[in-house]
Symmetry: C2
Subunit: 531 residues, 2 copies
Amino acid sequence: MDELNTTTEQPDTAAAPRNRRTAGGREAKRAARAARSGVSVPYITRKIPYYEVLDEEGLEIIERNADTILEEVGIDFRDDAEALDIWRKAGADVKGERVRMPRGMCRAIVQASAPREFTQHARNPANNVVIGGKNTVFAPAYGSPFVRDLDKGRRYATIEDFENFVKLAYTAQSLHHSGGTICEPVDLPVNKRHFDMVYAHMKYSDKPYMGSVTHPSRAHDTVEMSKALFGDNYLDPLTGKPKTVCISLINANSPMTFDDTMLGAAKVYARANQATIITPFILAGAMSPVTVAGTCAQTLAEALAGMAFVQLVNPGAPVVLGSFASSISMQSGAPTFGTPEPALVLYVMAALARRVGVPFRSGGGLCGSKIADAQAASEAASTMLPTCLGGVNFVLHTAGWLEGGLSMGYEKFIMDCDQAGMMHTLLGGVDVSENGQAMDAIREVGPGKHFLGCAHTQANFESAFYRSPITDNNSFEQWEAEGSVDMSVRANALWKKQLAEYVAPAIDAAADEAVLDYVNRRKASFPDSNV
Amino acid sequence: MDELNTTTEQPDTAAAPRNRRTAGGREAKRAARAARSGVSVPYITRKIPYYEVLDEEGLEIIERNADTILEEVGIDFRDDAEALDIWRKAGADVKGERVRMPRGMCRAIVQASAPREFTQHARNPANNVVIGGKNTVFAPAYGSPFVRDLDKGRRYATIEDFENFVKLAYTAQSLHHSGGTICEPVDLPVNKRHFDMVYAHMKYSDKPYMGSVTHPSRAHDTVEMSKALFGDNYLDPLTGKPKTVCISLINANSPMTFDDTMLGAAKVYARANQATIITPFILAGAMSPVTVAGTCAQTLAEALAGMAFVQLVNPGAPVVLGSFASSISMQSGAPTFGTPEPALVLYVMAALARRVGVPFRSGGGLCGSKIADAQAASEAASTMLPTCLGGVNFVLHTAGWLEGGLSMGYEKFIMDCDQAGMMHTLLGGVDVSENGQAMDAIREVGPGKHFLGCAHTQANFESAFYRSPITDNNSFEQWEAEGSVDMSVRANALWKKQLAEYVAPAIDAAADEAVLDYVNRRKASFPDSNV
């Protein structure tokens, strides 16, 4: 991992700014701000062990059941004759659209060619992320049609909101990734908004991004825009193959179904050597059994089938085993978040992904609350802590998620970024170096004294503890004097400050032009539509 | 553990209600309510593994450093000549009030006689708790001078508040313990309020309780009141020794100091075979080094010294290794809660306590927030999850804690109880029985269908998922129609409902009279004082 980490300092510059002259002033300001506000890392490499909730025997039971599901029940691959043909040639039992795989087949296909970890390249190579292994990458929330803030309440998202969140994610030191459909810009036509979303990631951030999956042609557009952005850096000079420069979310229609939209997008990305996250999207009780072990077996079966399909399309294309699993309220049928059962699913799935030997995606700051209140915070923490202890490699929905994913919250985004910042410290583990042991301090201070002024405290003052920008630890009297506000009010002030101070990363003018040229030509080539 | 668990069903009735005739109606109502609202357990026996953040080598470093602290730096035992004498006789190096212990001495003393786990008896034996081993016991927060609720804001606590919280803890299915100084009844004289607090626990609850530690005489009063309450059941008929019927909090004055108040109370309880929790109370940066490893070594040294002292006073008296460790803001000096460093300390200390072989106390729903907002909820969750994953046996401050312990929150109490309820499910782990595997459900439903109506879902409907009484999972529209309220408003309604529906547990009239007789005699024997 350490070797890989250092590659970010090598001259693999992708589309890093070449036109330094014009951007120098802003760059300098940005660097100065970054220096003031602490060290940021392109991604986290954990130093703490994984939390394992099930023993070997328990995990084997679930793996056996997943194989039984694949062999006896099978998976539907809908409206995609090519997919069925690929499965037939691979030796699966295909009847109609139902594909049944012999025990162990999918696992063997995945293990034969899927990388255990891979680098997703950013246009700024300092922001390349390594997905898999002991690494954790935090990305913003994904997919909500609404946004919410304290000032204007809940409303449909627009491209302005989308760009705002790209900027906030770029500014956030605790996020490593620009994400994908952070919110749906419903003011743009359905069939063209992917151009504007992908372009916003490319223009307003230089962190890695996700691609469109709502139609195979939109996946194709994402790949073409990426080629234009990365230019000469798109192909890996060593292998001649495309570098992995985007990652995209391929959801299963659980239970046990993939549709042609998702399969089509998966094929486009796989053939371009771009990464896909194969994610059974499961609300247990509706899309899977009400039990943890049942949900895990089904998730594993679906993910194995999807990942094997990608490997059959293009052996070696990066795939991530995804799990989005929550529960429903058995009273109302509404989805619930932050409850203990999904945490147990997450721990089990993380262990199962490690046993397959592929990167794992799950978790985030999930919640069912409509607002950034105590419910939102409890639920998010009850998802984010298992995310980090269990060992999620790619954390979609790290920041902003409200209302079961229906709404993207500005204040929630800031609160979640703070939590993600804390996870950097947690995943860094316990320092048992001489300095970490601090025996000099204990000897210097002795019984009954205090450590505030001792040499060790002075030496470690700056880095001693995680420092939250939005928690209030002042006295009650001071808090009252400052208006008795809750955390969401402080978060409101912070996102406004961050947007006001945002400075776009420099972008190579020729690359920017090439992307825009592609976008404009494509946009002009077919009429707007909202279907 | 299972054997111990079943002792609660044996005819070890302590002061269980003998006068069933008069209490029958209320008892029946209570039982009916309990049955309606789900199953409660007297304490949790975990089925999931511990999370270990440090490896063997790391733990050994900290143990070695703790021994170095005891040997080289030493511990002050202040204003207690008897304590120094006890240490001298045990072979420690005593110079003035500074006691230095040879390497391994304290550990050896503790391991020679301290029980690995013990039963704390409740007057209702169904509520006996086993402290130690794989068990987790949840108790309310402790020690705040203020209370807060949404209606009346923050104010000094009174005995009415105290009794309210005893009643709420009694009603709460997720709390196993009545706690101790839940809040300070500042309307009562300082030197007599312990009578009213201990009596409230005895009268308004039949869960186990904590004793007074603010003066050795008050510890003595707690023991005498306990003798009166338990009557013939106070002595164990097998051993002739007192049963352990209360547990009390002995804080070290960190760094490396115990004072005469705490030592005096510890001696009283130890000699009566009552349990003590030896807790270094540490805000890292002020009372210990700014590092996790340094804080852990110091905590272990202090706790070992305190526990060894108790064992020297009365070998075999139950002791708990306590750790209360948070950090301070290096900017303002204010204590902070819910940050990653204390979570790391907790994981390490839990492992170290297991290696000593004594029960462990830490954690809870700690927070620095003044109100039950998102900050409070994040911070509490970031403490409570490590509490459960790390393996805390006795969880003080499970519910109600606000403002760094200065305030006890009614709404926060309800929110924390909900979180504690979830922990029951989390600690229950993954069911890999046939029913848990749910393969019948997956076979019955098949690809593309839903699980809502399948036989397995119907059969597991009631127990399927943890059900929160205060989270809102309704649609946005319904939430809006219900007033767009945040979680604290729902918690406010719930504590009022629980207080309104509270029915006191039956108490043996003779025992009640004996306790009150002792209290009244003692109260009359010396004047009120507020020092």
